[in-house]
């Protein structure tokens, strides 16, 4: 072990942000002194990113048309009907209630994935078509790896100008920009910057916006 003061467990916990502040500072000191540990932290973060990428879209089961639905599925359908009849709404907690129109929609883009981005734009357009921009605020907030979608020259650039003309706000996370040393000039000009993407999303939800993560 190249760094006796920092166990493998602590190194993992550092990557997962699971250390208390004192241990985190100690870990940071050790990591700053040791290039092997820096490399290990980078590798663990890469593994995290690879895993997220690998399971972004797991394949859906392909059941032959003749295959009957599983017993569990049939029971689930029956139970859901019953639950709906009894008014048991806890599983739907946090979802928009029927009849109550949200004041807007905030769409999260946190993955560097052009297809997800396209889906976000389609969602925004569908909401605008259904409600009209006067009645509905529409925001797309990008942070983490999703920020790459906002870069000048990214494959996502095509629909951006049109989206902003239609009243969709495109918001980049200032924290992610700082962490990745991204300047405003590197982002598409249609994009505005908010201090923290996640806080913007939470704030909008508090204001009655529906939250969508395509």
């Amino acid at each position: 072990m190249s760094e006796p003061n920092l166990s493998e467990e602590h190194l993992s916990a550092f990557v997962d942000n699971q250390l208390n502040p004192a241990d985190r500072n100690r870990a940071l000191d050790a990591i700053n002194r040791d290039t092997a540990l820096q490399q290990r932290v980078g590798e663990y973060q890469q593994i995290k990113n690879l895993l997220r990428h690998a399971y972004q879209r797991p394949p859906e089961p392909l059941r032959a048309a003749a295959t009957p639905p599983s017993r569990a599925k049939m029971m689930l359908a029956a139970t859901l009907l019953l639950a709906a009849g009894l008014g048991m709404g806890w599983l739907l907690h946090g979802y928009p209630r029927f009849g109550a129109t949200p004041t807007g929609v905030v769409i999260q883009v946190s993955e560097n994935d052009p297809e997800k981005w396209q889906m976000a734009l389609i969602n925004a357009r569908s909401v605008r078509n259904a409600y009209g921009k006067k009645h509905m605020g529409i925001e797309i907030v990008a942070y983490g790896p999703g920020l790459n979608m906002f870069r000048t020259g990214s494959p996502a650039t095509a629909g951006m100008d049109q989206a902003t003309k239609q009243g969709v706000k495109l918001l980049a996370c200032g924290n992610t920009m700082a962490m990745t040393h991204t300047t405003r000039q590197e982002l598409n000009r249609a994009v505005d910057v908010v201090p923290a993407g996640i806080v913007e999303i939470m704030q909008k939800q508090k204001e009655g916006y529906a939250y969508v993560r395509p």
Binding site: I47, L51, H53, S70, L76, L91, T182
Partner: protein
């Protein structure tokens, strides 16, 4: 519920790498969650509670398949076999990562997917899987070391996915 379903399905698939089995496990989980809704006292705990039901459904599946075997031993067994779907996709990045995950013992696979995919805290992961936090940490370390070795070359291609996020704060 649709969002919970897709999160459950993603995790179930990352555990078993079999779309049909994953789908069955998720249906069973949702069914049990509705039946036992009264057990959930705190809505904040919904997600780790759902994952704990999913983990139990997987154990039940193993019990049905291997009635005489010790489930705890099964969870620690190294997994050698990848599904046909995994082998087909092995040449691609996604396939290589899924294959590397599929070769981890189930106990390690469950911990690393809940922490890395679902961003559960260590205590939520411990709660969901019914194991001590120390076990979460040791399994996580072993899983990461194994993946680090198996994905050494694959990780080098990560800059394609995420060129700017390699710096730590």
């Amino acid at each position: 519920m649709a969002q919970n379903r897709s999160r459950l399905y993603r995790v179930a698939y990352s555990w078993c790498h079999d779309p049909c089995l994953a789908d069955d496990l998720v249906q069973e989980t949702l069914l049990k969650s509705i039946k036992n809704a009264h057990q959930l006292k705190d809505a904040e705990l919904l997600l780790s509670w759902l994952f704990s039901i999913l983990a139990n459904c997987l154990r039940d599946h193993y019990r049905r398949q291997h009635p005489a075997a010790d489930i705890e031993e099964i969870m620690e067994l190294p997994a050698h076999d990848a599904s046909p779907e995994e082998r087909r996709a092995e040449s691609e990045l996604v396939g290589r990562v899924r294959h590397a995950v599929a070769t981890l013992p189930m106990g390690q696979r469950q911990v690393i997917t809940l922490v890395d995919l679902e961003e559960l805290s260590y205590s939520q992961t411990a709660e969901a899987l019914g194991i001590p936090i120390g076990t979460v940490m040791s399994r996580l370390c072993r899983a990461r070391q194994a993946l680090r070795e198996r994905l050494h070359e694959t990780a080098a291609s990560l800059h394609v996915l995420n060129p700017k996020l390699r710096r730590m704060e």
